[in-house]
Each structure stands twice: as structure tokens, then as C-alpha cells.
Amino acid sequence: MSTRERVVVVGAGMAAVRLAEGLTGIHDVTLLGDEQHPPYNRILLSAVLEGTHDPDGITMSLPGTVDLRRGARVVEIHREEREVELADRSRVAYDRLVLATGSIPTLPPIRGLVRLDGRLDSRVHAFRSLEDCRRLDEAVPGARNAVVVGGGLLGLQVARALGVRGLDTEVVEGGDHLLRSQVDAKAGAILARDLGRLGTRVYTGARAVRLTGTGLVLDNGYVLETDLVVLTAGGRPSTALARRAGLDVRRGVVVDHHLRTSDERIHAIGDCAQHGLQVTGFVPPAWEQATLLARHLAGEQVAYAGSRNVARLRATGLDVAVLGDPEHAVGQVVEVSNPVTGTHRRLVVRDGVIVAATLVGDLSRIGLITQHYDRGTVLGASEPGDLLMGERPAGPVVLPDDAEVCACAGVSAGAIRACASLADARETTRATTGCGGCAPAVRQLLAQRTSPGPTLGTTLEGTPR
């Protein structure tokens, strides 16, 4: 066990909360969050917008011993003094500093987003924080229609949430299909069709270029009349602090297998961190990093070797799961695609292990496929195919005379057939007198016994063995 240290975390998002939980009782933890709200589950924001979750219900619990400072924006890291400086010029000393600053949304190059006074046009919304969510939620009742800029996971979630709230919603995606960083064109096309069916029009290969009084102008000349514009077109790691402090920063803050930056007293986790070539942008890897860092700071021998990610679209009426990076993963592709039913299921398999997967329109066996993916299970040759095919319903069962019908009393179908009536069966075999579960089967056997036709072999549906 290591000695007690002051661990200061810049950020109070999901990764920070997870880390604080893991360090309870081991180190003194301070969270510096620039938002005024207590920490909350960012993943559930679209559910709040949709109305299925109460905003209070997404608050994350923190151990009572954690020193949470809200509205505390860090402006500088003083590495020599081992202190961070807040916007109010006060300083917080640390033994270990953890950067969990997350990502910041990128503003797409659309003219007219920003008004002459430097503020965003009142129709324009980001969707990153609880505050963004509240502001958009308040704008919904006064709006008739909305355009979501960005056809990624967040964009589709917001689009569906607004659709469910009754807004006439459109999606603009600059790439040639939806979810282009996760899935292939076939899957994207199915999604676009599904969205259309749900009342949301999709414009792919089209860029929004200007916001005018009438609406959003696309580069193909279309003008989408709209009361709301929601920007969901991606984000980038928030690295400004780290960069100013002279830490090694590429796309994100570069970390090693202990989530350590180029300063051994400073770590980085979550969306702001870059491990190898990987910058994640999802909660599950951020939590894995937080859990691992907590164990490392507690003195355990652990090393981070990257994360497996499962991305799920949380949107009513749209079924999408993306495991790993199916567009770039190397391996053999096993695929079942059915444009007629609107389903597309694809596994990327290397040495028998599922290394990536896309499931669109049909999530059956998602639980099992995810287990295999997460655990690196080595599958048999025909197993990936079997996993993609739906389960076939059990056909009618013909019971031979020696098949057991009543497990409680150990009675075979033949013994039942030898009985004259239900009362006779109960009396002589005790069938149906235990758990009672065989009563329908016994009645059917007896009924067929008295009916004309073949007496050998009886067809029963769904009888348990």
C-alpha cells in the first residue's frame, strides 16, 4: 500500500467520478469541475432530452470523502510547485495530478452561427453538457422543426429524441453515409431508411454552409427551414492546459501504460488522453482507464493495454451496436445483410476471435456477441455464422413412448398412453400430481389416444425435455 497522497483531478466528469470512487480510503481526492452541477452521467443526456429520464436521476454518486469543487476552472498547471491555479487565482497543491478534461465540441465552419456580438445565434445549440441539454429542452416546446448537424452516434440520438418530442427533424451529414466513422455504407443506408420511416429526413454528402433568417443553407443549394440547429459534429480532446504546461500532446495528452503523461506526477484519463494511437471518446474505455489508474495509484501492479469499446445507439426505434472499429479492424468478415428486412450484421474475426462487429436493425444475441468480444473467446469455425443467424423456433416434438412426460413422478409418454383417463393417469402413475407442469402434455396425449388416426407418436409443441 502506498502512502496517502493528495490526488487532484482536473474535471468532474464520468472518468473523474470513477477514479474518485476507486481511490476512496486510499488517497485524498479533490475534483475540480468547471460546471456548476454535481457530476452527472453524460451518456444519459439524450434520454433526458427525450423525456425518459429525469435530469436529477442522472446525478452520479461520489464518496463523501471526496472534495468536490464546482465551478472551479483550472487555468494553469505549475509543475515546479506542484500546484494548479484556478480562474480566481487561488491555487491547489497536488502530489498527483490527473487530467480528466474530456473533449470540447468542434464548431463546424457554418457562417451565421455566431452573431455580430460574438454570441451564438439563439437557434443554435451544442449538446455536450447538462446545461446544453436544459437549454435545448427549454427551446423544444416553442419549436416546430430542428436540424441536427452531424450524423454520428450523438447526432442520431439527439435527432431521435427531438423526433420523439414531436419536432419535424432533419439530419445533415457531410460524409456519404450515417455513422461513417463506425459502420459501412450498407449499414448507413439501412439507418437512413429507418430514420426516414420514423419521420426524420437525412441529407448525406451535404454540408451546412450558412445559417440565415430562413434556415440552414446546404452546399447543394437546399435551404432547410428550422427553428433549432443542434451541432453534434464531433469534438476533440481538451488539451490546452496540458499543452501550456509543456506536456507531450499529440491528438490527445500522450500517456503510457500507467496513464502517465510526460510528467511522472501527472496522469490523464478519458477523452483527453491518447494511449498509443488511441483516443477513445467513449465512457467505457474512460472508466477502464479510471479503474486501472486508481489501482495503479493504490500501489497495485497493473498496466493499461488499451480498451475494447462497445458503442450503442440509445435512440428509440433505432437498433445499432458497434463493437471495436469494424471499418478498420483486420480479419475475416462474416456478414449477414438483408436490405429487405433492414438488417445488417457483420463480425470481423481474427484467429477465431471477434475483433469488431456491426449490428444494425437486429440486435439479437448482442449480449452473447459482446461477451465473446470482451472476453476474447476463441470461437469454432462455424460459430460466427451461427451467432449471426437468428435462433430457429423449436419445431413440434414427437414423443416416443419412452420419453419422460412427468419428471416429478417419472412417467413416460407410453405409460400415459396406457391410461384410460386423466383420473386413471393420476391414480396409477401419479403424473400431474407433483409440480403440475405436465398436465397440458398429459391431456394432449390422452386426447390423441382417443382420437382416430395414428396412435404411435404424438405431436406436442414446446414440451420441455
Binding site: G57, V310, R375, G437
Partner: protein, 685 residues
């Protein structure tokens, strides 16, 4: 005609024994007792064949002593055997102290035996080292119940109450096979318009009767409960009025739920979000919800927390204490309930009193007529006790009553090696069980129907098994064996061998305790179809339903407890890529010492249940042998290829030697329950 109850599971089905033999030609025959409300005359094949062990050729009828010269067991007289045992016990205690002798009991022993066994340990032997196999049964539910409700009674209501609930959730219970007559209540519940949800890694006979079946990865029932609670809270289905009036701790639980959004729950449990939402909708729309857990949820290193999570769910919905609703545990062994209440648990004295509570010690010592200071303190829990046998500082002698440890303990090869290192192993049993076969002294005892005693069934109903026939020559009752040993050990007090007398003493010892039997008599049990504890006086009607007006906590409120998912102690990996889970089959019972010897009960030996996809992967065929390996052992048995099991899981029944050579001995920190229900395994054809 003698009214009694089945010798097997916790349902304790009522039956009558007749000596006419008109049906089977047996000299003692089982007949229905339709008036007894728990089973209304229904029995499973184990019950119907219950008298088959009477006069069985493998029945032990003479004490056996291991001959030092040949190493073989030879017949001995009772005096010789008991003198030998008592003498050796005193020698070992003289050399190593009182705790050099340990006692291991069972959840199948009557209340009277359990009580006397505890007294034997604490008074005649003066050892703190006593525990019992019930620790491996429902102990996680017991510790969760104590924590949440301030009391541990498996069902706080009669079982038949479930017929009028709206949604019944069975978590890790296969009652249609493990206690078949109980399933009749399930069918009536559905006939009344209620719905049944079954949670199990296998689509069991019970799951076949469910309206909704959830099939989680073994060891993930806890996050499943939190995921459901997350959705219920989000949907506004929490009964805020009840939570405010009758509970404490909800806010902390509520805050912990934000971490269990459906997609995360799906990734951890393997239960698809659509099913999770369907289940939550079912629960949210029901006026009366009953949640019952059994071994599937409880036999884990996080079993207590898993049960607490499901209790949290029941509390959030405002169910415990409401008619035809609430939470309960389906206890497994015949006297799993009573067996833990009267003093064979390492930390308890009769009446569910805690052994480290000075007032409890005073009361019990007064009833026993010994100084309170002479009573030892708490001892080791079952597995820890066995793990310490024959080690430095551990017990050097063990007395076993009503348990077949070699088959039923987890990590059984290791446990057998501990037994082998003992100076003295004494086993009281009716047949030569696998454990008796290792003993230095085997004491043949009476079985069910040859003796009288009470049991407390899964509902907390105290019932009476009456003696119907005389025991064979040469055997003694456990009460006689205990009394004989106590006397030879120089016990300061006498031990009665009359069951009714012992029960009356037990009543006095339990008086004022949580499990108060003071007002229960044999006559009342006969007249009232059993009496529910607590029953503090003969005028008291007994307590079929608990929690109507308050919980058994100091402030009368139930406790929400926030719990975190730790996951199985042994996760799968490349070398051991599948989950192993264990359980029962209908025709056998526990270690099989009784049922494997009954010819009417099919005994095909152990088998390995696996999914066709897994079978294809390893090249296994239905009926052909496969090998299951864990870090602790190996089992070769025929494959049963069925599509009803999760494809990442194999199942082995535990009635035979083998299954528990594979299982893991990680323990729950609160209940000390071993992790029987999940470990990492490899399977090959």
C-alpha cells in the same frame, strides 16, 4: 397412519405414512396429506419414494471403528465406539486446547438436533469451532435479510401468498425441479392473471413456465437488479411515499444507479436492453411484486450484496410488508431455516441470538445452567473451519452430523486432504457416505420416520415429523449419540434424548430472541398445520406474515443498502474460457447420500450440460464424454447438448463426487458463502 413431512427439501411437503402397503407392497408407504397447505397432497418422486431407504441393504446398523493395524473399518459396540471417541477428544483438547475439536452440522438436522449439537459444542466440549453446511445454502440471503430487515426468515409470508401477486420474479431458482410441488403456486398465480419472470443462466423447467425469461452471465444478477432499478427510477415507478415512511438509505442507492444505464448492464450481464426494458415495464406496471431469490443468486462471493440489490428493488417498489408482495428467499435444505436459528452456526446461540451479545449469553447460559463466561465466542465459518482442519492452530478432530462434506464442500479435493490430516474424524450417518468412508469412527443413526423432531420450513413454519416405525436394531438417534458423548466428556449438565423435552428447552432458550419458539408445542403444531415463529407465548397465534407494521430494525424501518458489482472471483481467461455453474436435478438431493441409493430415482451419474454452439466448437456430441477442467480439478462426464443453456456456460449437477472438485472457494465477506455458482473452466471433448 402417521402424519409427517418429506425428508428432503425446505418445502417440507406434508405426507402420511401408512403401514398397509396397498400400493407399493412396502411395509411403509407414502400417502398424500391433502390438507397440509404448502403442498396440498402433491409430492415429487423423491417424496413418493421416501421410504425406500427403510430396510435398505446399505443401511449402517453397527458403529464402525477404523482398525489401526489394518486401516479398515470394523464393527464395534456402542460403548466401545463412544468411549473411544470421548477419550480421544479429551486427549486432543488436553494437548491443544478446547478448540482442537470441531463440530460440523447440517441443514437437514431437526431443530432439536441442531440445538443439542450447539450445546454439545459450547458446553460439553467448550469449543468455539462449530458450523454447518447451511452456510453453503442460504447464508447470503440470511445476512442480507438481517441487514435490510433486521431479521432473517426465508419467506416473511406463507408460500401460497405468491398466488395473488401480480409479478413474481424468481432469481436463480429452479423450483419446478428442486421443489416441484411449489410450482403449483406458480401455475395458480398465472391462472389469476399474474406474470412470472425467471432469471437464470439456464432455461430451466421453471423458466419454461415464465412469461419473461432473462438469461444473464453467471455472477451478474447484482448489476441486473441495479439496471432494473435504474430504469424503474427513471420511469418514476419508485414508491416515494413508502420509501419516505418505511425505509432509510434510498438516496445513496439512487445516486449509485446513474452508473447502471441499460447498455452498460447489457454489456456486463449479457441481458439485452430490450428484455431489460420489458422487465422494468412489467414491474413498473404492477401493484404487487414479489421477488424471490435462491441459490443461483446467493452462492457467490458477492451473494449478500446481490440479494441486497434485489431487496433494494423490492423496497423501491414499496413491496415488503404489503399483502401478496415483498421479498423472500427460497431456502434449500429441509431445515435450512431452523438449522441456522438454534446454535449450530459459528456466531449464534439459540433463538437467533448473537454469541458475542452479553445479554444473549446470559440468557442462554441461564437456561443451560452454566456460567455465561464458560461459553466460547464465535468460531470459524464452515469453509474456513474445514480449511483449518489438521493445520497448526486448527482443529485436530471433527464430529460430523448430517453432512457429506466430501461431496458438498467447494474445492473438494483440498477439503478431503484437510479431512485426511485430522487425528480423528467421527461421522454420524445412516449410510456409508463418501465422508463416512474417510472416518475413524462411524456412528449409525436413525433416519427420518424412525425418530421424532421438528423442522422449520422455508416459510418459517415449524412443523413436526413424527416417528412412524421403530428403527432397526443397533442404531441410535442423533440425540442419543450427542447425550452419550456429552456424558462421557463430563458435561456439567445432562442432555435429554427425548425430542419433545428438548424442544421445550429450545423454546425457553429461544424465548425473547429473534427466532422465538417459546409458545410453540408439539400439540399446537399438530393442531395448526405448523406454527410460524416468532411465537413468544402459548397464547400467541404465531406470525405467518412479517413486516406489516414495521421491520425488525431498531427504528422499525427497512434499510436500503448501496452495493457495487465486483464480479466473479475467478473471471474467464484464455486458458479457462467458459463459466462453470452447478446445481441440482429433480430426482436427486444434495450429496445424494440418500437419493442415489433409492432404486426408483434415476441415477445416471453426473453430466455436463452445454450449448450446441459450444459443443460444435470443441467437437462434443450428446452423450459422449467431455472433460471439464478448472484450476482445482477435473471431471469427465457425458455431454448433454441442450440449447437451453448460455453458450458461454457449462452446468454440472453436484449430487455426485466431482462437481465440487471444480468449484471455487472464494467466500462472501459477510456470509462466508463460497462461490459455488461461478468459476472459470475449460471444456474439451
Amino acid at each position: 397412519m402417521t402424519r409427517t413431512h418429506c425428508p428432503y427439501c425446505s418445502l417440507q411437503c406434508g405426507m402420511t405414512l401408512s403401514r398397509t402397503g396397498q400400493r407399493t407392497g412396502r411395509s411403509l408407504e407414502v400417502q398424500p396429506w391433502p390438507e397440509f397447505p404448502v403442498n396440498e397432497g402433491a409430492l415429487c418422486r423423491k417424496g413418493w419414494a421416501a421410504t425406500a431407504l427403510r430396510g435398505h441393504r446399505e443401511r449402517l446398523t453397527s458403529p464402525l471403528v477404523r482398525d489401526r493395524a489394518t486401516g479398515e473399518l470394523r464393527a464395534a459396540g456402542w460403548e466401545e465406539a463412544l468411549d473411544l471417541v470421548a477419550g480421544r477428544l479429551r486427549e486432543l483438547q488436553g494437548a491443544h486446547g478446547p478448540d482442537a475439536v470441531a463440530v460440523f452440522g447440517g441443514g437437514g438436522l431437526t431443530n432439536e438436533k441442531a440445538y443439542q449439537l450447539g450445546k454439545l459444542a459450547r458446553v460439553a466440549l467448550g469449543t468455539s469451532q462449530i458450523d454447518y453446511n447451511g452456510r453453503w445454502c442460504m447464508s447470503s440471503a440470511a445476512s442480507a435479510g438481517n441487514r435490510a430487515f433486521g431479521i432473517d426468515r426465508g419467506l416473511p409470508f406463507p408460500l401460497a401468498d405468491i398466488e395473488r401477486t401480480d409479478v413474481l420474479v424468481l432469481v436463480g431458482s429452479n423450483l419446478a425441479e428442486t421443489m416441484p410441488p411449489a410450482a403449483r403456486h406458480l401455475d395458480r398465480l398465472r391462472a389469476n392473471g399474474g406474470r412470472v419472470v425467471v432469471v437464470d443462466p439456464r432455461r430451466t423447467a421453471t423458466a419454461e413456465r415464465a412469461d419473461l425469461f432473462l438469461q444473464p452471465v453467471p455472477g451478474t444478477d447484482l448489476p441486473l437488479a441495479l439496471g432494473l432499478l435504474h430504469l424503474l427510477d427513471a420511469a418514476g415507478a419508485v414508491d416515494e411515499e413508502y420509501v419516505a415512511a418505511r425505509t432509510t438509505g434510498w438516496e445513496e442507492v439512487r445516486r449509485s444507479l446513474a452508473a447502471w444505464w441499460p447498455e452498460r448492464v447489457e454489456r456486463v450481464t449479457g441481458v439485452e436492453t430490450a428484455q431489460l426494458r420489458e422487465c422494468a415495464a412489467l414491474l413498473a406496471g404492477a401493484a404487487r411484486v414479489t421477488v424471490l431469490t435462491a441459490r443461483g443468486a446467493e452462492q457467490h462471493a458477492q451473494g449478500t450484496d446481490t440479494v441486497l440489490a434485489w431487496i433494494d428493488l423490492a423496497l423501491a417498489l414499496g413491496m415488503p410488508g404489503k399483502a401478496h408482495a415483498g421479498y423472500g428467499c427460497l431456502t434449500g435444505q429441509g431445515n435450512g431455516q431452523g438449522g441456522r436459528e438454534h446454535g449450530q452456526k459459528a456466531d449464534q446461540l439459540p433463538g437467533y441470538r448473537m454469541i458475542d451479545d452479553p445479554a444473549a449469553r446470559d440468557h442462554v447460559a441461564r437456561v443451560w445452567g452454566v456460567p455465561a463466561a464458560s461459553l466460547p465466542g464465535p468460531g470459524r465459518s464452515a469453509y474456513e473451519l474445514l480449511d483449518a482442519l489438521g493445520t497448526d492452530g486448527g482443529p485436530q478432530a471433527l464430529l460430523v452430523f448430517g453432512s457429506n462434506i466430501v461431496v458438498s464442500a467447494p474445492n473438494a479435493t483440498h477439503v478431503a486432504s484437510r479431512l485426511a490430516d485430522l487425528d480423528l474424524l467421527v461421522v454420524a450417518d445412516i449410510v456409508m457416505s463418501e465422508t463416512a468412508a474417510m472416518a475413524d469412527v462411524v456412528l449409525p443413526v436413525t433416519q427420518w420416520a424412525e425418530e421424532t423432531g421438528t423442522m422449520t420450513n422455508l416459510e418459517g413454519r415449524v412443523i413436526l415429523r413424527e416417528r412412524a416405525v421403530a428403527p432397526p436394531e443397533g442404531v441410535r438417534t442423533d440425540l442419543e449419540v450427542i447425550a452419550g458423548l456429552a456424558e462421557r466428556l463430563g458435561s456439567p449438565i445432562a442432555f435429554s434424548t427425548d425430542a419433545e423435552e428438548v424442544f421445550a428447552e429450545l423454546g425457553r432458550a429461544s424465548s425473547g430472541g429473534r427466532a422465538d419458539y417459546a409458545g410453540i408445542t408439539y400439540d399446537r403444531i399438530r393442531e395448526e398445520h405448523g406454527v410460524f415463529w416468532p411465537c413468544p407465548s402459548t397464547e400467541h397465534p404465531g406470525t405467518p406474515r412479517l413486516f406489516g407494521s414495521g421491520f425488525a430494525t431498531p427504528d422499525g424501518r427497512a434499510r436500503f443498502v448501496a452495493v457495487e458489482h465486483r464480479g466473479p472471483a475467478e473471471p474467464t481467461d484464455a486458458a479457462y474460457p467458459v463459466h462453470l455453474t452447478t446445481g441440482r436435478v429433480l430426482a436427486q438431493y444434495q450429496s445424494g447420500a440418500q437419493t442415489r441409493r433409492v432404486r426408483e430415482l434415476p441415477d445416471d451419474g453426473p453430466f455436463v450440460e452445454l450449448h450446441p454452439m459450444l459443443a460444435d466448437r470443441i467437437g462434443a456430441y450428446d452423450g459422449a464424454p467431455v472433460v471439464v477442467t478448472t484450476r482445482r480439478g477435473e471431471l469427465k462426464a457425458p455431454a448433454r447438448v441442450v440449447s437451453t443453456i448460455r453458450p458461454d456456460t457449462v452446468f454440472v449437477p453436484f449430487h455426485w463426487v466431482g462437481a465440487n472438485r471444480l468449484t471455487h472457494d472464494a467466500l462472501d465477506p459477510a456470509s462466508r458463502m463460497p462461490e459455488f455458482k461461478v468459476c472459470a473452466a475449460a471444456v474439451s471433448a
